[in-house]
C-alpha cells in the first residue's frame, strides 16, 4: 500500500508538472530550446570528432617506412639488403627503388626535367619502401622497426610516413579533451538555465505553494512537480539537441560526400549512433533533474505560509 501510494504520488507529480509546463507554453518552449541548443553544441562537436577519428583510423594500416640508403649502396648490395630484411618477421613487403629509377620517376613527375639533366650525377639515393607485417602495424611496433632500421649501416635516413597520421591523432586527442571541457561547461550552463526557470516557477507559484504547505503538504509533495518539470526540460532539451545535431549532419553529408569523392574515398558522415543518442538524452534528463533539485531546495524553503 505504501509503495503503491509512493508511485501514485509520483504519477500525480508527473502529470501535474506537465500541466504546469503547458500552462506557460511560451516560456517553457524557450527554456527547452535554449537547453537544446546548449546541449547540441558539444554533441555536434563530439559527432564531428568521432567521424574524424573513424576516418583517420583506417590510415594506420597503410603505414610505410621509407629507408633512404647511403649513396654508395646500389645494385647488388641493394638487392642483398632487401633480401636480408625480408626475413624479418615484422616486415611484410619491401619495394626497392634504385637511384636511377627514382631519378627517372622524379623527372617524370616533378617537371624539373631540364634542371636535372644539367646535373652531372644522380643526386637521389636508392630507397627501400617497407610495409610492416599485419601483426606489427601498431604505433609502438612500427616505432620499434623504425629504430632498428635506422641502425643499419647502409641506412642514411629513415622516414616514417605515418608520422603525420600520429600527429593528427594527437591533435584529435587535444580536440577531444577540448570538447569534453566544453561539454562540462555547457552542462553547467544547462544547470543554471533549468535552475533559473525553476526559480521563476517557484516565485510565480508562491501563493499556491504557501497554501499547499498550510494545509499540510510535505516538502516532498511540493518539491516533486518541480523536479519532474526539471526532468521534462532536460529530456525535451536533449531531444531538440538530437534533432539539431542530426539536421546539421544531414546538411553536411552531401558536401562531405563530394569532398571525399574528390579524394577517391567512399567516406560518408556517420549519424548519431544509439549510444550517443542515449548519452545525450540521459545527460539532458539528469542535468534537468539536478538543476531543479538544486534550485528547488534553495527556494522552496523560503516560501512559508504567514
Amino acid at each position: 500500500m505504501r509503495i503503491k501510494n509512493y508511485f501514485l504520488n509520483h504519477l500525480y507529480a508527473f502529470f501535474y508538472s506537465l500541466g504546469q509546463i503547458s500552462r506557460a507554453p511560451l516560456s517553457s518552449v524557450m527554456t527547452v530550446v535554449v537547453i537544446g541548443i546548449t546541449l547540441a553544441f558539444p554533441a555536434g562537436l563530439y559527432a564531428v570528432l568521432k567521424n574524424a577519428q573513424q576516418l583517420s583510423a583506417g590510415w594506420d594500416e597503410v603505414a610505410q617506412i621509407s629507408v633512404f640508403l647511403k649513396k654508395d649502396v646500389g645494385g647488388q648490395a641493394l638487392d642483398d639488403l632487401a633480401k636480408r630484411l625480408h626475413d624479418r618477421p615484422d616486415i611484410a613487403k619491401i619495394t626497392t627503388v634504385p637511384a636511377a629509377k627514382a631519378l627517372e620517376e622524379f623527372r617524370k613527375l616533378s617537371g624539373f626535367d631540364d634542371a636535372l639533366r644539367a646535373l652531372e650525377e644522380n643526386p637521389l639515393p636508392s630507397v627501400l619502401i617497407i610495409q610492416p607485417a599485419a601483426g606489427y602495424a601498431d604505433p609502438t611496433a612500427v616505432e620499434h622497426l623504425q629504430v632498428s632500421l635506422r641502425k643499419l649501416p647502409e641506412a642514411d635516413f629513415v622516414q616514417l610516413d605515418l608520422q603525420w597520421v600520429q600527429r593528427l591523432h594527437a591533435v584529435l586527442e587535444i580536440a577531444k579533451r577540448g570538447v569534453e571541457i566544453l561539454a562540462v561547461l555547457l552542462g553547467l550552463a544547462v544547470l543554471l538555465i533549468v535552475g533559473n526557470t525553476i526559480r521563476l516557477g517557484v516565485q510565480s507559484n508562491r501563493d499556491e505553494i504557501a497554501i499547499t504547505k498550510l494545509i499540510g503538504a510535505t516538502d516532498g509533495f511540493v518539491r516533486r512537480p518541480f523536479l519532474y518539470a526539471g526532468i521534462w526540460y532536460g529530456l525535451l532539451g536533449g531531444i531538440i539537441a538530437w534533432g539539431l545535431v542530426s539536421l546539421a549532419l544531414l546538411l553536411l553529408d552531401e558536401p562531405v560526400r563530394k569532398v571525399s569523392a574528390l579524394y577517391d574515398s567512399t567516406f560518408t558522415l556517420g549519424m548519431l549512433d544509439v549510444w550517443t543518442t542515449l548519452l545525450l538524452l540521459t545527460s539532458g534528463t539528469l542535468l534537468g533533474l539536478l538543476g531543479s533539485w538544486l534550485a528547488v531546495g534553495k527556494h522552496l524553503r523560503a516560501v512559508e505560509p504567514d
Binding site: 504547505k213 494545509i215 499540510g216 503538504a217
Partner: protein, 217 residues
C-alpha cells in the same frame, strides 16, 4: 484537543503578541475567540498551526507538543486541522473541485472515484454542488468562503479553525456560515472560531475566549 500552558509569544523586534496565555479546549467543544485587532488572535491561531512557535510555554494539539516538533512533522499536524481563512486562500488557477480535493491528494488519496465522492459530499454540505468546474474568481465572496470551508472539512478533521470566517459576508450569509460550523460541532468536531461578530456569537451558547493586549480575560 488544544491546550495552552503559560504561552508567551514575542516576535523578533520585541513586540509581545501573547502574554502568559493558558486555556484548554476539550475534544468536541466549540469556542469563539474575540478581541480587538492586535490583541493576539492571529498569533494564537498561528501557534496552533505551527506557523509560529511559542517563545515560552507549551502548546499541545491533539496530544502533541508543538514547541518541540521538528520541521518534518509539521505537515502531519496541519493535516489533522481544517483551516478556514478570512481571505479564503484558494488557489485561483485551479477549479473548485481541485481546490477542495487538494487536502485529500496531499494526504495521499489517489482513488479518483473516492476523491470525487468526498469532494461532492463536502460541496453539498456548503451548498455548492454543481460549481465544481468553476474557478474561484468566478464565484462571489460568500461562495469562495464556502469553498474554503468545504476544503477544510473534506478530510474530516477532528479540529476546525476559522479566522474571521464571516468577515466579508452580509448578515444572512454570515449566519448561514456560522450555522455550518454549528452543524460540524454537533457531529463531534472541535471548533475554534475567531470572530468580531458579537450578534452571531451570542446566538450560540458556546464558550467565548476574549483576548486583550495579549492576555486572556
Amino acid at each position: 484537543m488544544i491546550q495552552f500552558t503559560n504561552v508567551t509569544k514575542r516576535y523578533p523586534g520585541g513586540h509581545q503578541a501573547l502574554n502568559n496565555v493558558s486555556f484548554e479546549l476539550k475534544s468536541g467543544e466549540m469556542a469563539f475567540l474575540t478581541g480587538h485587532s492586535g490583541a493576539g488572535k492571529s498569533t494564537l491561531l498561528k501557534l496552533i498551526t505551527c506557523i509560529e512557535r511559542p517563545t515560552t510555554g507549551q502548546v499541545m494539539v491533539n496530544g502533541k507538543n508543538l514547541g518541540k516538533l521538528g520541521r518534518r512533522h509539521v505537515p502531519a499536524v496541519r493535516r489533522q486541522i481544517g483551516m478556514i481563512f478570512q481571505d479564503h486562500k484558494l488557489i485561483n488557477e485551479r477549479t473548485v473541485f481541485d481546490n477542495v480535493a487538494l487536502p485529500l491528494v496531499i494526504a495521499g488519496l489517489h482513488n479518483h472515484p473516492e476523491i470525487a465522492r468526498r469532494v461532492r459530499a463536502a460541496l453539498d454540505k456548503v451548498g455548492l454542488l454543481g460549481k465544481e468546474k468553476q474557478y474561484p474568481v468566478t464565484l462571489s465572496s460568500g461562495e469562495q468562503q464556502r469553498v474554503g470551508i468545504a476544503r477544510a472539512v473534506v478530510n474530516k478533521p477532528a479540529l476546525l479553525l476559522a479566522d474571521e470566517p464571516t468577515g466579508n459576508l452580509d448578515p444572512d450569509l454570515a449566519a448561514e456560515v456560522m450555522g455550518l460550523f454549528g452543524q460540524f460541532n454537533q457531529v463531534g468536531v472541535t471548533v475554534l472560531i475567531v470572530s468580531h461578530n458579537v450578534d452571531l456569537i451570542t446566538r450560540f451558547r458556546s464558550r467565548i475566549l476574549h483576548l486583550e493586549k495579549g492576555g486572556l480575560v
